[in-house]
C-alpha cells in the first residue's frame, strides 16, 4: 500500500523537518530522489489523511494553560453530556473511556482564571463530578512514533 518513499516520509521526518530555505529539497537529497517526488508524496499522504499536516507541536503551558479533566457521567446521559461539553470552544480531545470516570477531555484557556470559570460552568451545566488533572511534569522525550508496516 505504501511505497518505500512513503514509509520513509512517515517514519523518519516526525521530529525534524529541516530548518533551511529548501527543506523538501534537503529531504530529497538525503533520500536520493527529486524535490518534486517529495512534494507529490507528501501531498498524497495528506490528501489520504495518513498525515494530519507537517507542523509543530508546542510545549504545554508556555502559551496559555491547559488541564486534563475527567468526568463521571451516567451511561444513559453520556451522548448528551458529551455534546454539551463539546460546545465549549476550550475543549479538545474529548473521548469516552471505559472507566467509572468515562469522559476525558483537555481544556485549554488563556489563563487559569478562565479555565476555572469554564470548569465551574461545566459542573453547573452537567451536575457531574469532575477531576481537575493539570500537568505537573512532562517526561516524554519526543522521538516520534515508529509505524510498523509489516501487517
Amino acid at each position: 500500500m505504501f511505497s518505500s518513499l512513503d514509509k520513509q516520509l512517515l517514519n523518519d521526518f516526525q521530529q525534524d523537518i529541516p530548518l533551511s530555505a529548501t527543506p523538501y529539497q534537503d529531504i530529497a537529497e538525503s533520500l536520493g530522489v527529486t524535490e518534486d517526488a517529495i512534494l507529490t508524496a507528501f501531498k498524497e499522504l495528506q490528501d489520504q489523511k495518513f498525515i494530519t499536516r507537517i507542523g509543530s507541536v508546542i510545549a504545554p503551558n508556555l502559551i496559555g494553560v491547559s488541564a486534563l479533566i475527567a468526568m463521571s457521567v451516567p451511561k444513559n446521559q453520556l451522548q448528551h453530556i458529551a455534546t454539551v461539553i463539546n460546545q465549549y470552544p476550550e475543549v479538545n480531545h474529548n473521548y469516552e473511556r471505559d472507566n467509572r470516570f468515562n469522559l476525558w477531555f483537555v481544556l485549554v484557556a488563556n489563563d487559569s482564571e478562565s479555565l476555572q470559570a469554564v470548569m465551574k460552568d461545566m459542573e453547573y451545566q452537567t451536575g457531574c463530578k469532575m477531576l481537575y488533572l493539570p500537568l505537573l511534569e512532562d517526561y516524554f522525550i519526543n522521538l516520534g512514533f515508529e509505524i510498523d508496516f509489516n501487517d
Binding site: 524535490e35 508546542i58 502559551i63 470516570f101 476525558w104 488533572l133 512514533f145
Partner: protein
C-alpha cells in the same frame, strides 16, 4: 521569549508547513518577515523548547493503530521522575505525564499513553512495560478509548480566528 511575532509565526506553522519549494519564505510573506528571519526565529523557538518538534504529524487511527489506552499508575513520589523517564523510552509509549493525585477517589500520579493496532497488542506492551520498569507493585488502571467525541489535536486559542496545536494537556 514568545513575543507577538513569534505567536503569529506559530499560528501560521500550526496550519501546516506549505508544500512548496520555499515554505518558510511563504510563511514569511504572510507576516511581512524575510525567509531568513522566519528561520532564525523558528530555530530559536525550537532551541528553547517552545516548539517541541517540527515534522510530520501522523494520523495513528488511519495508519491502523486503532487501540489507544491511557494507563495511570500510583507510584512513589520520590521515584516518579526516574520512572517517568524510563517509561518514556519505550517506543510504543507516546506521552508520559505527572499529574496530581485526587485523594482516594483517584490516587494516580503518573499517566502514559500507549497506541497499538489492537487491544491485545496494547496489553502485551503494557505487561512488558510493567515488568521492565518494576511497576508490579504499583496500583494501575487501564482506560481504553471508546468513542471519540472531539479530536482536533489540542488547539489553543491565540486569537479570535486562529489556534495553536499543543501537546496533550
Amino acid at each position: 521569549m514568545i513575543d507577538d511575532i513569534n505567536r503569529l509565526l506559530i499560528e501560521q506553522l500550526q496550519q501546516g508547513l506549505p508544500l512548496v519549494s520555499r515554505p518558510y519564505a511563504e510563511i514569511g510573506k504572510k507576516l511581512n518577515l524575510s525567509e531568513a528571519e522566519v528561520l532564525k526565529r523558528l530555530a530559536k523557538l525550537k532551541q528553547l523548547g517552545v516548539i517541541k518538534r517540527l515534522g510530520v504529524v501522523v494520523n495513528h487511527r488511519r495508519l491502523g493503530y486503532k487501540a489507544n489506552a491511557m494507563v495511570v499508575f500510583d507510584v512513589n513520589d520520590g521515584l516518579i521522575s526516574q520512572i517517568g523517564g524510563h517509561i518514556s523510552q519505550f517506543d510504543f509509549v507516546n506521552l508520559c505525564y505527572q499529574r496530581p493525585r485526587q485523594g482516594e477517589l483517584w490516587p494516580y500520579n503518573l499517566y502514559c499513553m500507549i497506541h497499538g493496532k489492537n487491544k491485545k497488542a496494547v496489553l502485551k506492551q503494557l505487561e512488558y512495560l510493567i515488568e521492565m520498569c518494576g511497576l508490579r507493585q504499583c496500583k494501575n488502571e487501564v482506560l481504553f478509548s471508546k468513542q471519540c467525541f472531539k479530536q482536533r489535536g489540542a488547539l489553543y486559542q491565540v486569537s479570535s480566528k486562529q489556534q495553536i496545536v499543543m501537546s496533550n494537556g
